[in-house]
């Protein structure tokens, strides 16, 4: 056995990475796996940029006075942090990197349904990205990522039009990815791969794609209207010349609330995959998890008004939106309970991906529960626009989605590259991020409850201690994020060969070599068993050791 593998390794086995080597072969590739890698590199660049802005924000907030930057610059810092992290990192993160790479593999297909469209998505992403960079070079934009009118359309002295154009183009990248995924999931499943044999990762991406396709165009038209209002100075949203600013908020949140599910559902898909593998157990409540993804996608369209409890929205409208918001908590809770139940009597392995998933479970639960505070009409009057909101959505977006993204990246890295990273360092990174994250954002719940508003860099003296704690935590978290940037690339050169299935996981993607060949499967696979057919009694000796 081992001699055969040694021989096979000695030969330059053709795979999707080494089949062609020129730069052009990467830039013009239509291979979903290569496009996934292109996205991986791209979003890492933007993550670093967004992280840099976050660091500057935290440093400024060390003291109650303005010392590092003035208000105007501070406004630009949090705006760019938000725009970059949301539109150029979180939205594409798991779908565009892991989804692109894995969907065809999980479905037993050779590629996504529309490979060239997939490449176009990546170019659109970068065109949007170039807009963002130009905005940055020209002094930035100061509206907040929410582009609220009439400030954005008349008062702001930043590059609103360019920033909105960037968001518009990046939005189409997201739409095309979603469209591609839906068609692929419908039409490209291998024989025997029925809907209820699909991995939950696929279900989660299906739900995500529905939101991308149906919500993102509304963001597109809202941004177009802002550009029109700003360029031609005609009233659409500006009340002084006949418009209605609250209409913009409605249009914006009609996209941007569902968008938070674009930014969390794929993470839930990753968690479902990782938690079963490292519990050596079938997932608990497969159907409930699958349907709760769809429920989140559908209910997510009906709750946008909870962002406008204090924006002249009628009280009864507010009550309805508040109740609907409570309803979304149900499918999210179903997922958390099912994942936890999966652990019960499982054989738990504390590998790095699993540690990230444990981090996700704790942080997402806190993020989700504090979301209920904000969805409650009365409580939100107090918490609105305070650091409590900042803490809440960072618990969901960073504690949830980024943790899940890292879990997924660590889980499938051996598949993507054929190499295993340093597992001790990876575990250390997971722990550092978890600890640093809580140090950073838990104090912000308290700050918000005490009344510290968001988006101000000057604050009352008594808030300083908690702010210093928060900044110190950000430092720890920053180290945690930098570690993978070192050991992951390093693994390409010094990592052990991973073999086809280093985690002894189930799923079609683990049946092909690592890295896979260009067309994934030599023969279209035929699926005959349920997903996650883990044998509880099997002792997974040698996990992570490679071959």
């Amino acid at each position: 056995m081992s001699t055969q593998i040694a021989e096979a390794d000695a030969l330059p086995r053709p795979n999707y990475l080494n089949v062609k080597r020129s730069i052009l072969s990467w830039l013009l590739t239509t291979d979903h796996k290569r496009i996934g890698i292109l996205y991986l590199i791209s979003i890492t660049v933007f993550f670093l940029a967004g992280g840099l802005f976050a660091a500057l924000i935290r440093i400024e907030l060390l003291t109650p006075q303005a010392d590092l930057v003035e208000s105007d610059i501070y406004n630009r810092l949090f705006t760019l942090h938000g725009i970059i992290m949301i539109f150029f990192f979180l939205v594409p993160s798991i779908p565009a990197v892991l989804g692109n790479f894995l969907l065809p593999l999980m479905l037993g297909a050779k590629d996504l349904a529309f490979p060239r469209l997939n490449l176009l998505s990546w170019y659109l992403y970068w065109i949007g990205g170039v807009f963002a960079v130009v905005v940055l070079l020209q002094g930035g934009v100061d509206t907040g990522w929410t582009f609220y009118t009439p400030f954005s359309s008349f008062a702001s002295n930043g590059n609103v039009v360019l920033a909105a154009a960037g968001g518009f183009v990046a939005g189409f990248s997201s739409i095309l990815t979603g469209l591609n995924f839906i068609v692929t999931i419908h039409k490209m499943r291998a024989p025997g791969l029925t809907w209820f044999r699909l991995p939950l990762f696929v279900w989660a991406h299906y739900a995500t794609s529905l939101i991308q396709v149906l919500a993102t165009p509304v963001l597109g038209i809202s941004l177009v209207l802002i550009m029109v209002e700003r360029v031609w100075r005609v009233g659409i949203f500006d009340p002084t010349i006949g418009g209605d600013p609250v209409l913009f908020q409605h249009l914006f949140w009609f996209y941007s609330h569902p968008a938070v599910y674009i930014m969390i559902l794929p993470g839930m898909g990753v968690v479902s995959e990782v938690i079963t593998c490292f519990s050596r157990k079938r997932i608990f409540g497969y159907h409930m998890i699958a349907f709760s993804s769809l429920a989140i996608a559908i209910l997510g369209f009906l709750v946008w008004g909870h962002h406008m409890f204090v924006s002249t929205q009628a009280m009864y409208t507010g009550i309805v939106f508040s109740i609907l918001t409570m309803l979304v908590a149900i499918p999210s809770a179903i997922k958390v309970f099912n994942w936890t139940a999966t652990l019960y009597k499982g054989q738990i392995y504390f590998e790095a991906p699993m540690l990230f998933v444990f981090g996700f479970l704790g942080l997402f639960t806190i993020g989700g529960l504090t979301g209920l505070f904000l969805g409650l009409l009365a409580a939100d009057i107090h918490f609105h626009d305070t650091h409590f909101v900042v803490a809440h959505f960072h618990y969901v977006m960073v504690g949830g989605m980024v943790m899940a993204y890292l879990a997924g990246l660590h889980f499938w890295w051996p598949k993507m590259t054929g190499r295993m990273y340093n597992r001790q360092l990876a575990a250390l990174a997971a722990i550092l991020i978890f600890v640093g994250f809580n140090m950073t954002f838990f104090p912000q719940f308290i700050l918000g409850a005490l009344g510290m508003p968001r988006r101000y860099h000057v604050y009352n003296e008594e808030f300083q201690l908690l702010n210093v704690m928060s900044t110190a935590g950000a430092g720890v978290m920053g180290i945690g994020y930098l570690l993978p940037l070192i050991y992951m690339p390093l693994s390409l050169f010094v990592g052990k060969r991973a073999g086809a299935n280093p985690w002894l996981a189930k799923g079609l993607e683990w049946t092909v070599p690592s890295p896979p060949t260009t067309y994934n499967f030599d023969h279209t696979p035929v699926v005959t068993e349920e997903p996650y057919a883990y044998d509880n009694r099997l002792h997974a000796a040698g996990m992570g050791q490679g071959e």
Binding site: P104, A109, K110, D111, L112, A113, F114, P115, L117, I175, L179, N180, I182, V183, T184, H186, K187, M188, V213, L214, A215, T216, P217, V218, G220, I221, S222, V224, L225, V228, W232, R233, V234, G235, I236, I241, G242, G243, D244, L247, H250, L251, F254, Y519, T524
Partner: protein, 213 residues
């Protein structure tokens, strides 16, 4: 033409490929519905709030030209549908003819639209500094024209894209690229064209007809 040359490498067979293309097109049209849906929402909100002045402003639109344009577009949908039929049934001469007819009708629509736009300039009804409204409530009258220009402009933009697609299909049709085995390009352009027409079917009454009962 061999069967395999029409099926891209990652599809199992032509049925899978065709079904994927059609589903993809419908999903794209769903995004378009949501895109225009944002505009229609803005229209509904402002028309309910400023109903009176919206009715007055609607009366200034050219009913005759609007009706003519509606007829032009409806006929163009017919020629497009016949084009798809020609492609499916392999009538190689009928297809280019129908594509040309659709293109001409599309251009005619845009021409009429251009006449209407220029009338708005003459009557100082274009939103912005030069906007003059003789009646009451000028800011909200201007709002009507803002929506008028954005909605019809966005529609016209989609028409232009459709006409360019048609022109490309025409070249391919004249090179004999389409036949009963291979007509998806025409079919999808047809779906798109009908969608653009339907948008106009909603725009016309909402903009031109609200005060003509």
């Amino acid at each position: 033409m061999s069967h395999s040359s029409q099926v891209a490498h990652h599809f199992e067979d032509i049925e899978q490929q065709n079904e994927s293309l059609v589903l993809g097109m419908w999903l794209f049209l769903a995004t378009e519905v949501m895109f225009f849906g944002g505009l229609f929402t803005a229209y509904v909100v402002y028309r309910t709030t400023y109903s009176e002045v919206f009715h007055e402003a609607s009366r200034t639109l050219d009913f005759t030209l609007g009706t003519v344009n509606t007829l032009i577009l409806l006929v163009s949908s017919l020629t497009m549908a016949m084009g798809v039929y020609a492609a499916k049934t392999g009538r190689r001469n009928l297809l280019p003819l129908m594509l040309v007819a659709t293109i001409i009708l599309g251009l005619a629509f845009l021409g009429v639209k251009a006449v209407e736009y220029s009338q708005k300039f003459e009557h100082h009804l274009v939103p912005g500094a030069g906007f003059v409204w003789p009646g009451g409530n000028p800011p909200h009258a201007q709002l009507f024209f803002v929506l008028y220009f954005i909605m019809t402009g966005m529609h016209a933009f989609h028409m232009v894209i459709g006409i360019v697609m048609m022109a490309m299909l025409l070249v391919m049709a004249m090179l004999g690229k389409f036949g009963p085995e291979r007509y998806m390009g025409v079919e999808m352009a047809g779906l798109y064209w009908h969608f653009v027409d339907i948008v106009w079917v909603f725009l016309f009454p909402l903009l031109y007809l609200i005060d003509r009962s």
